[in-house]
């Protein structure tokens, strides 16, 4: 057999697994039908965050006066969508090229084409059969489109688009209707609302971001409404026609019209080409894996979006490392209890660990401590005082079991919490760590003080 491992799919799951396996001395092949980097680099994380960076800067520019900056003509300052997309392309290109370079440096063999699994040791690409001792499936997921009247036609005609379509728009839509209230929906709502679209977000459940800590999701929802997004919750999609989107809302039928409709309603696994393996699937149709990322077939691993654990790039990469380590003889498992999520709205949301509800359900006797950014000096200095830090701790030893942050740079602030939880930290340890002044992170320390007795600044 030629390879220690063949990896199908070169997204953040597959390419990281490949690099790690190669670093550990493995002979590695990657089969990729499109570009290395997968959804994340080409159509997901990186493009959206590049656009959101501009949106945030644009928003701050329009607030310039508040910060003492004059001479901006609000009627003239505009985001040039095509210029922005060009920047996005430059950023993506540079990062994607970087992955190709890393592949060369790590002597990873890249097979460009669709991989079809013949059996657990043989993969066909462009008519060639390559052989390996182990197989990692990292083919990702694709959009889940519900069965709604007219949706198929609307997708084909381009009136309804998915996130990839949104990144290929010719111009900023005037009226944008977003169907879905998950992370991607909410980030695009933030983006286009800031860039000047009239945005309507249609959400099935009672609130946006149903998997996010409730107070945080509700506070963000309020903030988004305040910034002009029309959020319609508690709806049922009925049909999509030339005239618009028809929904049921509080027992009434309503029609929403836009020049574009963006749909984002979850994912289903990308299983094409690997059917031959007959891997065991979970109830939702994703590939079943254990903490070592092994599937039901020995020597076959499945990582990333297609195992249905978390549809997050950093989880895909972490799983890739675990799979690579196990293949290369280092015993390794994933700890799914300490997985952070980040949402790049204004302000950002980030979480790790349990929510109050989850902790109580699991039988923890808990303390919940919340510290508002409105009492944080740096937040006021930056004019970004909406948000809070919430720490959930178990009362036996004060162990930190959940941290939820709403703040302008929550996605970076959460790293303190993940490292703390990785080390089974108590609130005493965080409170004792001297945080620099003035920073938003002081709010984490203050929340920890609050878990023990009281914050200083409250």
């Amino acid at each position: 057999m030629k390879y220690d491992v063949i990896i199908i799919g070169g997204g953040p799951g597959g390419y990281v697994a490949a690099i790690k396996a190669a670093q550990l001395g493995g002979k590695v092949a990657v089969v990729e039908k499109d570009k290395l980097g997968g959804v994340c680099l080409n159509w997901g994380c990186i493009p959206t965050k590049t656009l959101l960076k501009t949106a945030k800067l644009y928003r701050d520019m329009l607030r310039g006066k508040e910060f003492g900056i004059v001479g901006i003509d609000d009627s003239k300052v505009k985001v040039d969508w095509n210029l922005l997309l060009k920047r996005k392309d430059r950023v993506v290109d540079r990062l994607v090229k970087g992955i190709y370079t890393l592949f060369k440096r790590n002597k990873i063999d890249l097979y460009e084409g669709v991989g079809t699994v013949l059996d657990k040791n043989r993969v066909e690409v462009n008519g060639e059969v390559i052989t390996g001792k182990n197989l990692i499936i990292a083919t990702g997921a694709k959009e889940n489109f519900p069965e709604i009247e007219g949706l198929k036609e609307a997708l084909e005609s381009g009136r309804v688009i998915n996130s990839k379509g949104a990144l290929q728009l010719r111009e900023i839509p005037k009226e944008l209707v977003i169907i879905g209230g998950g992370v991607i929906a909410v980030e695009f709502a933030t983006l286009f609302n800031t860039l000047g679209s009239n945005v309507t977000l249609i959400q099935r459940s009672k609130r946006i971001l149903s998997s996010v800590e409730e107070e945080m999701a509700l506070t963000l929802q309020k903030q988004l409404i305040k910034e002009g997004i029309n959020i319609v919750t508690d709806t049922k999609l009925k049909s999509i026609t030339e005239n618009g989107i028809l929904i049921d809302h509080k027992r009434e039928e309503k029609l929403f019209k836009g020049d574009k409709y963006l749909i984002s309603l979850g994912l289903k696994p990308q299983l094409k080409g690997i059917e031959g393996l007959n891997l065991e699937l979970d109830s939702k149709g994703f590939i079943k894996t254990n903490k070592r990322l092994e599937t039901s077939v020995k020597g076959v691993y499945a990582i990333g979006d297609l195992n249905g654990k978390f549809a997050l790039a950093h989880v895909a990469s972490a799983e890739g490392i675990v799979a690579a380590e196990n293949i290369m003889g280092i015993d390794s498992i994933m700890n799914y209890n300490i997985v952070p999520t980040g949402i790049y709205t204004f302000p950002e949301l980030a979480s790790v660990g349990l929510t109050e509800e989850e902790a109580r359900k699991k039988g923890h006797d808990i303390t919940v401590s919340k510290f508002p950014l409105a009492a944080n000096g740096k937040a006021l200095a930056e004019g970004e005082a909406t948000g809070f830090v919430k720490i959930i701790s178990d009362n036996e030893y004060g162990e930190v079991i959940g941290v939820h942050i709403m703040a302008s740079n929550a996605t970076d602030m959460i790293s303190e919490a993940i490292v703390a939880m990785q080390l089974e930290s108590t609130v005493y340890d965080i409170a004792k760590a001297i945080h620099p002044h003035p920073t938003l992170s002081e709010a984490v320390m203050e929340a920890a003080f609050g878990s023990i007795d009281r914050p200083i600044h409250m």
């Binding site: 030893y397 162990e399 990785q422 080390l423 089974e424 930290s425 108590t426 005493y428 340890d429």
Partner: protein, 56 residues
């Protein structure tokens, strides 16, 4: 080279070890670089209990 003297352990593992009467210096941790995690203490305690029960 002198033997390593320090026990890598998490704060919760240390407290738990104290409360459960487990000698933390004798445990092989399963955390990163052999760090003793709380699960290791629970596991050791369980093993200790089994040891005690065996002779019966």
């Amino acid at each position: 080279k002198p033997k390593k003297s320090k026990v890598l352990a998490t704060p919760v593992a240390r407290k738990l070890a104290k409360d459960l009467g487990v000698d933390i210096t004798k445990i092989k941790g399963t955390g990163p670089n052999g760090r003793v995690m709380k699960e290791d203490i629970y596991r050791t305690k369980e093993e200790m209990t089994k040891e005690v029960e065996k002779p019966k």
